[in-house]
């Protein structure tokens, strides 16, 4: 079967919402923009779309090849699509967590975190090398379970669209208990923060319940400082896209043992220079204790 790519249809809304947020910030709403940073973010988004187009055929081929060996024949109905959306979001949680905890995956994902700003244009700052790091493998179980690849890719697009609007400082907190269930601007600001207590927290895509379940939830308690531990000194899209890969290459070449080589590739980001999230939290006296289901919901 064939389903539309919802992201393509959402692009005009993305553009209008970025414009609206810029004007709101100019009029005094909370937030920051910088024309160079915005340009870099948008060019990263443009390049990501091109890169995605180049590998879309290969990913679809892998998806359909696996689907031929599916465990169940799952019909396409409203409830199977809804179930697929939820399970895809769970797969996204584990992709995202791995992308922060394993340098090979971080090398692609770091691009999204490389802005010191947090606004709707930051949402569009996306990787060019997701295929290289094989981030698609986290969705493969869905094809093996038996969800139609077209449905999986469709709900993946919806997930991506949802995550656009939470990249803003304009919205404080959501009403009606939504903060307990959904990933919101407040929860995701924490995720983009480099404050020690915010490192490696709030990996959710749509449903924040995964972080509450797996002990990675952190509420927004202090103003986040956005970016990465070693912020980039450039707006050059090519360097933004490749800087962590270059760092991996440099560290692997400088490694003096196989363990060092392995950890340079698959250890936590910052392992070589001792600036992992765990080390930073320890130095700052942040316990890093899991905040799971027992944590009171907002």
């Amino acid at each position: 079967m064939s389903l539309p790519n919802p992201v393509t249809w959402a692009v005009p809304a993305f553009v209008l919402l970025v414009l609206a947020e810029m004007i709101a910030v100019r009029l005094g709403a909370r937030g920051r923009y910088d024309w160079r940073d915005t340009g870099a973010s948008l060019l990263m988004g443009f390049g990501s779309t091109l890169a995605g187009g180049l590998v879309a055929g290969a990913i679809a081929a892998i998806a359909y090849a696996l689907w031929q060996h599916r465990l169940f024949d799952i019909p396409v109905t409203w409830w199977t699509v809804a179930l697929c959306f939820i399970l895809d979001d769970l797969a996204y949680y584990w992709f995202h967590r791995t992308a922060h905890e394993v340098r090979w995956f971080w090398a692609s994902h770091v691009i999204h975190h490389s802005s010191q700003h947090y606004n709707l244009s930051t949402a569009l700052r996306q990787t060019w090398t997701g295929f290289l790091s094989m981030s698609f493998i986290f969705r493969l179980p869905l094809f093996l379970i038996g969800f139609d690849p077209a449905v999986v890719l469709f709900v993946g697009g919806l997930n991506l669209i949802y995550q656009f609007w939470i990249h803003t400082e304009v919205i404080d907190r959501l009403p009606w208990g939504l903060e307990a269930v959904l990933n919101t601007p407040s929860h995701h600001r924490v995720h983009h923060g480099t404050n020690p207590r915010y490192l490696d927290r709030n990996y959710a895509g749509v449903f924040i319940i995964w972080d509450r379940m797996f002990g990675t939830f952190e509420p927004e308690a202090e103003r986040p400082r956005y970016g990465i531990i070693h912020n980039l000194a450039t707006f050059n899209p090519l360097l933004i896209a490749t800087h962590e890969w270059l760092g991996i290459g440099r560290d692997v070449l400088a490694a003096r043992s196989w363990r060092e080589r392995w950890m340079s590739l698959a250890g936590p980001p910052g392992w070589r220079e001792g600036s992992t999230a765990a080390a930073i939290k320890a130095a700052a006296g942040v316990t890093g204790a899991p905040v799971g289901p027992a944590h009171p919901a907002e």
Binding site: V15, V18, L19, M22, I23, V25, R26, R32, Y33, D34, W35, R36, D37, T38, G39, L42, L43, F46, T49, L50, Q116, H117, S121, G227, H230, N231, L232, A233, T234, F235, L239, H243, L246, G247, R250, A284
Partner: protein, 113 residues
């Protein structure tokens, strides 16, 4: 091809709007700001000495523990790097600093280094 060109045009329009709306700060450092930013961005660092770039967009600071910290302007923000002594070379009254994935910088050479 047409879609790609349209997307690039959209990028250009949004960047132009951002510039037109005034999101184009390029702050300059003075000694007080450099010390405050260093303490803020590099927790635990206490500046003892510093030298400012001629254009106010960078500073090299020496901490009370002797460590060197570079403060560098990127857009309307700042980045910091710890600087190993080997990355700094002195040529007459100028310092050149070379770090991986970082622009080559020149600053006035201070008496303290």
């Amino acid at each position: 091809m047409l879609v790609a060109l349209g997307s690039l045009a959209g990028v250009a329009v949004l960047v132009l709007v951002a510039w037109t709306l005034g999101f184009r700060d390029t702050p300059r450092l003075d000694e007080a700001l450099a010390e405050r930013l260093a303490a803020d961005l590099a927790p635990g660092f206490r500046a003892a000495e510093l030298t400012l770039a001629d254009n106010g967009r960078a500073a090299l600071l020496r901490g009370s523990d002797g460590g060197l910290l570079l403060l560098f302007g990127v857009g309307d923000g700042w980045v910091t790097r710890q600087v190993p002594a080997a990355a700094v070379t002195r040529q007459a009254d100028r310092l050149a600093i070379r770090l991986p994935l970082f622009p080559r910088l020149e600053l006035p050479a201070p008496a303290w280094l």
